[in-house]
């Protein structure tokens, strides 16, 4: 259990964020992610990519983000048994039995700072990139599915059959485990994840959790945000508002 310093990032960045909200300092950051990283440069710890999802804007029955993800990542295979199908992102409908309050939200890999999938992976195929994106290195994934046992969010899927229709930018295939990559192929080129870009309600905010001037940090400083299964202290990179 290292990186405990990260745990307090919201508290710390909140303070910085407030300082940074001097009028006029933060302009034109909303729609565009960070600029493209230069060729040959590795991802660094100076950034940590994350997402803030406003569930009050997320409409029940809308699954534009799910479709956008499927298109971007080439999740197009037909699987006879739907229980064996891959789902990188899914909509969960939630109802509070006490109050009858209902809401809906997209659930995907939460890109934990302390990911259990990475801890349990026997070969190191499950990995966290320096900028916080949790990925599967399919070159050394042996398909044991231990990470799927360990993930509290059911974020991972196992590819049960041979695939041929992959997106050239998004390799995925039989016998390996996969999950949301935060659209790493887009992020590295300075673009937003497909789901974030597609959301008609602008309910998903993507950004750098380490950057005190980023929209996501400023929003987190002003509104109550929640981590799903916060009791596990995984320090998730995806956070929710309005739960």
């Amino acid at each position: 259990m290292s990186h405990n310093d990260r745990r307090g990032f919201l508290a710390a960045t909140a303070g910085l964020g407030l300082v940074a909200i001097a009028p006029g300092v933060h302009l034109m950051q909303v729609a565009q992610a960070q600029s493209q990283r230069a060729a040959g440069q590795p991802a660094t710890k100076r950034q940590r990519w994350g997402m803030l999802i406003d569930t009050t804007k997320c409409a029940k029955g809308c699954d534009v983000c799910v479709s956008a993800c499927a298109t971007e990542n080439g999740i197009n295979e037909t699987v006879a048994d739907p229980r064996q199908a891959s789902q990188w992102i899914r909509k969960i409908d939630i109802k509070d039995p006490q109050s009858d309050r209902q809401y809906s939200l997209p659930m995907m890999c939460q890109h934990c700072a302390e990911p259990p999938c990475v801890d349990v992976c026997p070969t190191g195929a499950s990995m966290k990139r320096a900028d916080g994106i949790v990925l599967v290195d399919r070159h050394i994934c042996i398909g044991c599915r231990y990470c799927m046992m360990a993930c509290p969010y059911k974020a991972r899927s196992f590819v049960h059959q041979p695939l041929t229709q992959q997106n050239p930018e998004v390799p995925r295939g039989i016998g390996c485990v996969e999950s949301c990559t935060l659209c790493v192929q887009r992020i590295d080129r300075g673009r937003l994840p497909a789901c974030v870009e597609a959301c008609p309600e602008k309910a998903m905010l993507f950004g750098d959790l380490e950057d005190p001037n980023s929209e996501i940090v400023r929003r987190a400083a002003s509104a109550a945000t929640t981590q799903v299964r916060a009791d596990l202290k995984l320090n998730t990179g995806v956070r929710y508002q309005g739960i």
Partner: protein
């Protein structure tokens, strides 16, 4: 080491058995190839129940493999002559079942063709990776241990090696239990009691397997088990079964104590398809009936009772693991405690799993591997436990046999 002379009938029986074992292994391999080629789509496993029947078989074989070594340990480490005579057979069974379990585990991998990566890339925080060490170490230690037992010049080394093997197997079963014990995400698993529970279970299951194999070998050789030996082994088996039941009770009672676990326990023990498997399969068949057979005075001193009890314990073991592995995964993950959730990915629903033929055949293939190795082993080398009937109660009399 001496080769054993065989009669013609024995010869024929051996080839029949070897052929049967070989066939089961071949079918298991074919099933694995089918899974490898078509993908796990041909199995009943899915993205909700990710570990299925192969893991039930594999974990049974691995846990029982470590448990069966106890017979040797009691002989070598604690110096009991009766058990010393049985140490070679016990070591052989350990190797055979460990090989069978790993056969299943490796061939079930999504990328079984890349299994070598498990040996070239280690992630040291992974309990699985520790187990790769523990299993391969176990093979080496037990193989050398067998050598010290069977090669007279090496006999003096059998005690330290027996001790090493004993300690190693304790760690190994702890490791196997910890595969589940460290899973914080799932309500069924995250518990420190799993490691000791697996050790106790391995004692019971291993001894049961040993007794079945021993009884079979004795029957073929027209030998009968000496009543003193029978009594000792039956009492030991009963003790292990009772201890297993105790641990199972503690595991579930502690779960019931925590409010957030209560609904899981209700699911497993009352509401689901796993409830009858638990009560009838695990508790009754695998626990209470064997205890009655082993301890009821009118039954307990019959060879048949011991054999039946051992068989029931093995059957109960499979129920135990099915309830534990499949039942533990079937209960929905609680992402939003107290809420009613639904999604296209079956959130909030009990996961369904129906094993299909390939995964069952693969599991049986692992049993076949263990069977084949044992059959060949007992034919080629001298593994039959031969008790010194006249001196059964005197220890350490056989220095130079």
């Amino acid at each position: 080491m001496s080769l054993v002379p065989h009669s013609r009938a024995e010869e024929r029986l051996f080839y029949v058995l070897a052929a049967v074992g070989g066939l089961v292994v071949a079918i298991g391999l074919a099933a694995a190839l089918h899974m490898e080629h078509s993908g796990h789509v041909v199995t009943g496993m899915n993205n909700q129940v990710v570990w299925g029947m192969p893991h039930v078989f594999a974990i049974f074989l691995i846990v029982a493999a470590s448990g069966v070594l106890n017979v040797a340990s009691i002989g070598s480490v604690f110096g009991k002559t009766v058990y010393k005579k049985r140490a070679p057979l016990s070591g052989l069974l350990t190797l055979a079942m460990l090989a069978g379990g790993l056969f299943v585990l490796m061939l079930d991998l999504g990328r079984a063709d890349r299994v070598i990566i498990a040996a070239t890339h280690y992630n040291f925080t992974s309990v699985f990776a520790w187990n790769v060490f523990l299993y391969s170490g176990m093979f080496g230690i037990v193989a050398v241990y067998l050598w010290t037992l069977m090669e007279r010049r090496m006999n003096p080394w059998s005690k330290p090696l027996g001790l090493t093997a004993f300690l190693w197997r304790l760690i190994l079963t702890t490791g196997t239990g910890s595969i589940f014990g460290f899973l914080v995400a799932r309500q069924a698993y995250q518990s420190a009691i799993l490691a000791p529970m697996f050790i106790i279970m391995s004692f019971a299951w291993g001894l049961a397997v040993f007794l079945i194999v021993q009884a079979t070998m004795f029957r073929w050789n027209q030998m009968t088990l000496h009543p003193t030996v029978l009594k000792r082994m039956k009492n030991l088996l009963g003790l292990f079964v009772a201890a297993t039941l105790y641990f199972v009770a503690v595991y579930h009672l502690t779960n019931l104590y925590f409010a957030r676990q209560a609904s899981f326990e209700k699911f497993l023990l009352v509401d689901s398809e796993f409830a009858p498997m638990f009560w009838i399969g695990q508790v009754l068949i695998g626990g209470i009936v064997p205890l009655v057979l082993l301890y009821l005075p009118s039954l307990s001193m019959r060879c048949g009772s011991l054999m039946t009890a051992a068989l029931l314990i093995v059957i109960g073991a499979f129920f135990t693991l099915y309830v534990f592995i499949i039942g533990g995964q079937a209960y929905p993950l609680e992402l939003f405690p107290g809420m009613i959730v639904s999604s296209s990915f079956y959130d909030g629903q009990v996961a369904q799993y129906a094993p299909k033929l390939p995964e069952i055949l693969l599991g049986l293939g692992g049993v076949g591997v263990a069977f084949l190795m044992t059959t060949v082993g007992v034919r080629v080398l001298k593994f039959l436990p031969e008790d010194d009937l006249t001196h059964l109660d005197q220890a350490a009399i056989h220095q130079g046999d």
